[in-house]
């Protein structure tokens, strides 16, 4: 089985699905000849041509708007937004139109579209190239929100997403793009949308993370296992919405303690919704106040990135405090 990084595995999923289905179209700024800012669409232009791998003008609202129109009329567009920070000119199209189509056409029309976009910090991009806006989209009924942490899941989830009949936000943790390599099948396979994965079993505390922060959570889990004898269970959500609440509740019932890690600011970050769900469904099982280790409620800073991000050095004390409560 070939080894792939995240860039390669997403490219492999796109190539597979474009070969299998003529309705799949890729569009965005620099996605064609150049192969995308992060080179995720590299080679697709040569293989599938300018009609299916479209270099668009710089116009996010136009990109997403036309993709919605394509989807309504039966194509399966996979638009790329260069950084999730640039999605806001298209926010209106996503929130007002894409998300509501099935509902307001009485189920007659769907909007099968996957918006791919890099997310998160770690490249010293400052406030316009580092944000994690996932909860804005989770808050919008009608969208599914996916964020893989590794190359295998990314390929399987992207194939599921393109075949899904609803609009999907597909967040790619840019910090992971070239940092992780693993075996990924060349051929097709799917990872189901809506299923989390317990990546490390444990009995003392549940740690919930996704995207690039999963690796920080795992590092902390290992650190507290070695230094403090704490046995943490780590869940990779993979799909943020619809969230796999069953897996979370089952874990919290076992451990009685929970720490949530995300890059986005704390106020109304997805951690807030997760903790509400946990309180509603497993309140009596909690043995300690839950904790959130998150980005600060500030814009994303250029230089103080390692202070801003919820990295291992901030997760570990939170685990210890929760367990010792």
């Amino acid at each position: 089985m070939p080894e792939m990084n995240l860039v390669q595995s997403i490219n492999s999923a796109l190539r597979h699905e474009m070969k299998a289905n003529d309705d799949v179209i890729v569009l965005g700024e620099d996605v064609g000849k150049v192969g995308g800012v992060f080179r995720v669409t590299k080679g697709l232009f040569d293989e599938f041509g300018a009609d299916r791998v479209i270099d668009t003008p710089l116009a996010e609202g136009g990109i997403i708007g036309t993709a919605i129109g394509m989807a309504l009329y039966g194509l399966r567009p996979v638009p790329e937004i260069q950084f999730s920070d640039f999605i806001f000119p298209a926010f209106d199209q996503i929130v007002s139109e894409a998300a509501k189509f099935r509902y307001r056409s009485g189920g007659e029309y769907t909007c099968p579209m996957v918006i791919r976009t890099p997310v998160g910090g770690g490249i010293r991009g400052g406030h316009y190239h580092s944000q994690s806006p996932e909860s804005l989209f989770i808050h919008t009924a009608g969208l599914k929100v996916v964020c893989p942490s590794n190359p295998y899941d990314a390929k399987g989830l992207l194939l599921s997403a393109i075949r899904d009949d609803d609009p999907i936000m597909f967040f790619e943790p840019k910090r992971v793009y070239r940092a992780v390599k693993m075996e990924v099948p060349e051929e097709e396979f799917t990872v189901p949308i809506g299923k989390a994965k317990v990546v490390k079993e444990g009995k003392d505390v549940t740690v919930i993370a996704w995207g690039a922060m999963l690796f920080e959570a795992l590092a902390s889990a290992q650190e507290v296992a070695e230094n403090d004898g704490v046995d943490a269970e780590v869940i990779d959500l993979r799909t943020l919405w619809p969230v796999d609440i069953d897996t979370i509740v089952e874990s919290v019932k076992k451990t009685g303690r929970v720490v949530i890690v995300h890059e986005a600011p704390k106020a109304c970050g997805f951690g807030a919704e997760l903790l509400s769900l946990i309180s509603e469904k497993a309140f009596l099982h909690l043995e300690a106040p839950p904790k959130r280790v998150t980005g600060w409620d500030t814009p994303f800073p250029y230089t103080l990135e390692m202070e801003y991000l919820p990295l291992q050095h901030r997760i570990t004390p939170a685990l210890i405090e929760t367990v010792r409560f």
Partner: protein, 322 residues
């Protein structure tokens, strides 16, 4: 122009050494436009620019120290190290910022020009952007408002031929961008931006028109960036021959020739070059030795100070955890 050139050459070197991180978009090749604009403006006028903002900031009077320290992410930088290369600000010199969201700053510039009209304060705003930006909605909305309200603003499109890796021919249905001015009732002008004499005089016309109540102008300046889109772009989408051809009209060389024509000697120019080198060396040293950006300032600069406390407030006594 040489100060800008040398500032950026040294910042590219510092980037390669890892002292500057993230994104660094160089203006090398386009200097005559920023400097021409600075000549055309008066103290108290306003300028908005994209992320390719070092050139205009220096031309308007920001010190190389404040700029370099910002690139290094230091507390002494013009945005206290929290913004970096794309987000220079300098209120004292009328620089209303480098902006990272393409098209996002155009309406803001129109708003500043609105205030000038409202107060009749005789001030002019220049707003710079690239040709790529003329495709996004924000451009059209700002042009529409400015044209309708006859604002004292000059929209300057620096057409350096490429938006990141894609040439304009592949993303625009028209070649002459000033055609877009007509749709908003605005006068258009179009010229090559390599010669400081041309850029100064043509920008001056538009600035004067704005100042005298003649309304906004849209200008397309044809230019070329000698480096990639940013430091991480090797610019493989264009040929070496194309680049070499363009470098023949290097604005810094043209400016030097113009000065010699005006009677300045080679020796005098060399002396100025040495002075500039010293100034840039000093800026690098200053940036190296300055204290890092402050975490406390980061937390305290989100809102105006107030008595209401944020429930997630930063608590330095508790490892930062609220």
């Amino acid at each position: 122009m040489t100060t800008i050139r040398r500032f950026e050459e040294e910042s590219a070197r510092a980037y390669a050494q890892g002292k500057i991180g993230g994104f660094l978009h160089l203006y090398i090749g386009q200097e005559a436009i920023a400097v021409g604009a600075a000549h055309a403006l008066r103290d108290g006028d306003h300028v908005f620019q994209t992320y390719r903002d070092h050139g205009i900031a220096l031309a308007l009077g920001m010190t190389p120290r404040a700029g370099m320290a910002e690139l290094f992410g230091k507390d002494t930088g013009c945005s206290r190290g929290l913004g970096g290369s794309m987000h220079f600000f300098d209120v004292e010199n009328g620089f209303f910022g480098g902006w990272g969201i393409v098209g996002g700053h155009l309406a803001l510039a129109a708003g500043a020009a609105f205030k000038s009209k409202y107060l009749n304060d005789g001030k002019v705003t220049i707003c710079f952007f690239g040709e790529g930006a003329t495709n996004i909605g924000g451009f059209h909305e700002a042009m529409s408002l400015a044209g309708l309200w006859k604002l004292p603003i000059v929209f300057v499109c620096e057409n350096n031929q490429y938006a990141m890796g894609t040439p304009m021919s592949r993303t625009s249905a028209i070649e002459d961008l000033t055609l877009k001015a007509a749709g908003y009732g605005m006068i258009g002008d179009r010229f090559e931006g390599h010669d400081i004499d041309t850029t100064t005089s043509r920008l001056q016309l538009a600035v004067d028109r704005a100042r005298n109540g003649g309304g906004p102008t849209f200008i397309e300046v044809q230019t070329y960036r000698f480096r990639g889109h940013s430091m991480s772009d090797p610019a493989k989408y264009r040929s070496r021959a194309e680049l070499e051809e363009r470098k023949k009209s290097d604005p810094c060389h043209i400016a030097r020739t113009r000065l010699m024509e005006a009677g300045i000697t080679e020796d005098q120019l060399d002396d100025i070059d040495v002075e500039i080198d010293t100034q840039i060396d000093d800026a690098i040293k200053f940036a190296n030795e300055s204290p890092p950006a402050s975490e406390a300032f980061m937390h305290n600069s989100v809102y105006a100070p107030s008595l209401i406390t944020d429930p997630h407030r930063y608590d330095p006594t508790n490892g930062g955890q609220a």
